[in-house]
Symmetry: D2
Subunit: 358 residues, 4 copies
């Protein structure tokens, strides 16, 4: 069933396999008249790109893209924007060894169970290569948000056991100053060391990405099923390797009492806000004007150097050998993906909200 589409009004449909001819996206429902700055698309694609630093995979992917439709004289026309990113580094040979062997904690087995016939080269459709299309679409969504004063910023808050100290002050403008994309320089260094160490061992490690959305007006989100955080949660959980999502107080709320968790309202110079933000900017599924804050947990990449026991397509015992060029830790490159998916959700709800009142 058609499941490659995301969003209601601002809606994207992605296509493409890791080692096919190209991947890409159709953005349907972008309002007419939006300035489309291709540099901003390039910028975010570069942030997601393999090979951008020594702590990410050295695999090469072209991130050149072409807009085939929907933009005229630099502005959106209201018709579908199709953006294509050709695949140039298609070393299918690298993957021939996995045609018949189910790699542990990959999607090989489940795709085989679901579809019977699958493109096994490079993970095919299950590869995180697909997220480049999301990042490109997300860049367009960010342009729409920017025109409405809304800013989406993600960063790495934890790698393995190394996390930004609770009491630390972080400065979001420093995110891009280190390859980990952590806005706390001391922690970033520890993270980088850990990643290099893990890589040396041929292993991988998990991590966490945090995201803040500022400038979002009160009123976005739609009860009851399309609560703003429910759509954000689905968006994040649809990213490869994500295992958990929490917003505001998140899982910490389990141990809290109502008297400490409630956010008192206040009126600052005519603008109603809250003194604390355990709500994470969302109450009853609708934004309240405070910064929207959430965390996303990423598992360690499943591809490791050590050989692993597994079974093959016939159910026979087999060995999965770790080849290919993969990330020791996925979160530095996941930052623009989290931003993109968040921007798509907010852009969609921004347009949906145009029909909430007479």
């Amino acid at each position: 069933m058609a499941a490659n589409t995301f969003g209601e009004i601002f809606r994207i449909t992605t296509f493409g396999e890791s080692h096919g001819k190209a991947i890409g996206v159709i953005i349907d429902g972008c309002p007419a008249g939006l300035l489309i700055d291709e540099h901003l698309i390039h910028y975010d694609l570069q942030r997601r790109r393999p090979g951008q630093s020594r702590i990410v995979t050295q695999r090469k992917e072209a991130e050149d893209f072409e807009i085939l439709s929907g933009v005229f004289e630099g502005k959106s026309t209201g018709t579908p924007i199709c953006l294509v990113i050709p695949n140039t580094d298609q070393k299918s040979g690298d993957y021939s060894h996995i045609a018949e062997v189910f790699r542990p904690s990959h999607a090989d087995f489940t795709y085989h169970a679901k579809y019977g016939h699958r493109d096994h080269t490079g993970g095919g459709r299950s590869s995180a290569r697909e997220t480049a299309a999301r990042v490109a679409a997300g860049a367009v969504a960010k342009m729409l948000l920017s025109a409405h004063g809304i800013q989406v910023t993600a960063y790495v808050s934890q790698v393995g056991p190394v996390c930004i100290p609770v009491e630390a002050e972080i400065n979001l403008s420093t995110i891009e100053q280190n390859p980990v994309r952590c806005p706390h320089p001391e922690t970033a260094e520890l993270m980088e060391s850990l990643i290099m160490e893990v890589r040396k061992m041929g292993d991988t490690i998990g991590g966490m990405v945090s995201c803040t959305i500022t400038g979002c007006p009160a009123g976005l989100g739609a009860p009851v099923f399309d609560k703003l955080h429910a759509d954000l949660g689905k968006a994040m959980l649809s990213i490869n390797a994500v295992k958990g999502f929490e917003y505001g107080s998140g899982f910490k709320c389990v141990s809290m009492k109502g008297s400490e968790h409630n956010d008192a309202f206040t009126n600052e110079a005519g603008r109603i806000s809250t003194l604390t933000n355990h709500s994470g900017g969302i109450q009853g599924g609708i934004s309240n004007g405070m910064p929207i804050q959430f965390n996303v947990a990423f598992k360690p990449v499943a591809t490791i150097v050590a050989a692993q026991d597994t079974v093959d397509i016939r159910g026979d015992k087999a060995i999965a050998e770790g080849k290919g060029r993969h990330d020791p830790c996925v979160v530095p490159r996941a930052v623009p993906i989290v931003e993109a998916m968040a921007a798509l959700v907010i852009a969609d709800h921004l347009l949906r909200n145009r029909s909430s009142k007479l």
Copy 2:
């Protein structure tokens, strides 16, 4: 925008305010020929019902329901099943004090910002009363799953700081034997004491619900956006008071290495399974035949007895006084809601999967 609908093929649309005439649900897309056992609907509604034990709100809600359509001679006909639950305990007077005051961490302010005109009695549409309609629909989804050998079971795993010990063996058949719905009797007692204590203080406390789905065949879930865990996550996050969702290893994965996180495949008597289940039964967004496992974090109920500082509809300082009859801890009653939403997701993907192969 229409946001009261959930699901693609097996699809529900709920309606109704807390203190309106009735709440209810239309189930569209239930295959014809399913035996509809009204006792099972009653059973789950009773588990969600206020006043069922001393640790939940003593507010009274009628949970009588009527099926208006879609069932003929005890079986589904393939046409929409409309199920209505009248509201009988409509003490609107109880809520007159909140017509103009924004209660902290409730949806009063955000609904006001979004819609301007809102039904403030009893929380209106933002009240958890709406989840009774989900539970009724979920009971029908469970009947469909049961016909396919799939079982959905949720339970309380944590209340405040009290959680089931990691090393404890739990027996899911004991869930209904205590009012907390915790399958570990010793822990259940501690939880119950804590809830009673919190209630006495006029306060509330958070909690966690865990869920296991067994008998689910490999192949359910649809890449790339409608990953099975993404749809489960959205379903859970759409429940009132939920702040976080994780599946399989969840947030613990952040600190793990690939070599310890990967689930090795094995072949047991012709059935491919995994030795561990950090994947939580889902790989690449598609079920792998192992038990599906996830956790849901619920915040402490926002209504407390103590008076709280806030603002009113005009932005003036005001006091929110905690009246009404509310739950000291929401998780015991949330168990059937979590099950219902999970059943709806699995039922939908079960039908969607009928079109995955030629």
Copy 3:
């Protein structure tokens, strides 16, 4: 699959069988703040009601309705409006003879083929009784349109071979002055005589309903698949007994040349309009500000008095006997249904258009 929902933003879901407990509709996506005048709903339901005149079926249907949700202090709240119409005249006995016999040109055979298990009493879900729910929802859509200066008016333009003369001037304000709902009194009389004659013979006759929408701004409709006339066409074709839809010049365009068919633009007092209206108010799928005009063809009702040869559920020869109380001609009662479906389409596109520009 879920097919009882219509519309994208202003969206309705109907439920109910002819002889079940009730029929009804959920309207989701109606903007908050709309005045809901229940008299207007009553008025349109009366126009659709059986027994309203001597030329329609004398079957009795209660058209009392109840709004269960979504309206507070007389105005919409932005949450789902559920409206229920109980069935009171449930003479199921009348229909026992058709439980196993497929009536010619009814939906008995096809529902049986599709669902296996079906409610055969009174046609069940395939009965035109379901359209009462559409009329009620359409009345709410009309209120939204009225608030934007848009008016939807349908009338009977042909019954059997009797049609309004091409050269006749018609006055839409006279529609309700005769039981046929034809705005040309002389033709109305001929139509009424024909219907009475057909009824006496125990037969039925086809007819045509025409519809005009005025005050619709330029810009509604969404290329490429959701062209305004494509959505209007689907809406009309989804009404029971409809066999054809045409707009503007319609089927006459087949014989026309471009030089005579093209509508020249002109500027009247600052408002761009066209000198002719072969386009029927829609160009390229988008309204152009001229009156939207279309025709809908209704077949003769399938239930007739004469016994008819057919087969039964086992494929054996059988006789379908024409019992029950049915309409000799459906179009007088179809007028409010056509209006309702048209209003739903325009209301939806009115809201959709709020996102077409930055």
Copy 4:
């Protein structure tokens, strides 16, 4: 709002402007394992191609296409199939004269009213060029139907006043033997002469396409809104230049009596069928196993050689001059488009029907 998507399970999204870089389509929801024969896609694109005969436009369009994804080793994988058709004949200069002038009965004015900012070259998104993407997708749908024994065949039944005589026997295998695509050779010649004559005059003429679908099982179509003929009607009305749709008896039903219109059921060798087929193969919105038959009315192409009075973007009087290379009659090239859209509807309902029974 996203309106470039069609279908529920077998779902297409098209993109591209007439004179942009490319047009194309994503097919999402095609089951895995379907043999994709690119020759069949080529074949249908050739039938839609300009310049294929002397009675169609001599404009040149490349119809080479490339499949970018979703097909592996010749078979569908269940993931999105993206197919791109580059535009090579982009003589934008040809259209500079219409940048500011609203051509009569084109979409210039309405797109301007809706979007403000539009691609005016060659009609942009409103050009029938977009239908090439539909034809390509329809060819894939036909492959799916063919695997289920279903055949979709369209042909020209009328051009201007020239139509196939009612009593004529037609042989659908002769359709491709004349450039008009009329299965009655004598009528085809008259049609061809008429088209050549109209072309000489610099004018254009309307026409009708008829379509027959055989081998369709009983049970396709989904009450109440997604009736099979309602979805076919929307599909046809979404094709450029279509003004009307009728199925079975169509508009003729208006003058018929129930006693003559009803289709008597019979049992031929164990298969229930009807003696007549006024129902056009669809009863109650669901296929009954008889051939599905419908007609589609196409208006005369709006582009003519004669200069026409109109207004420009400022509302000032202007002259629209007929340049470009356009069709004197659209129906010969519309035949594969009608087939494509019909195939998409049937393919979608074929898959939807997999969930109608337990």
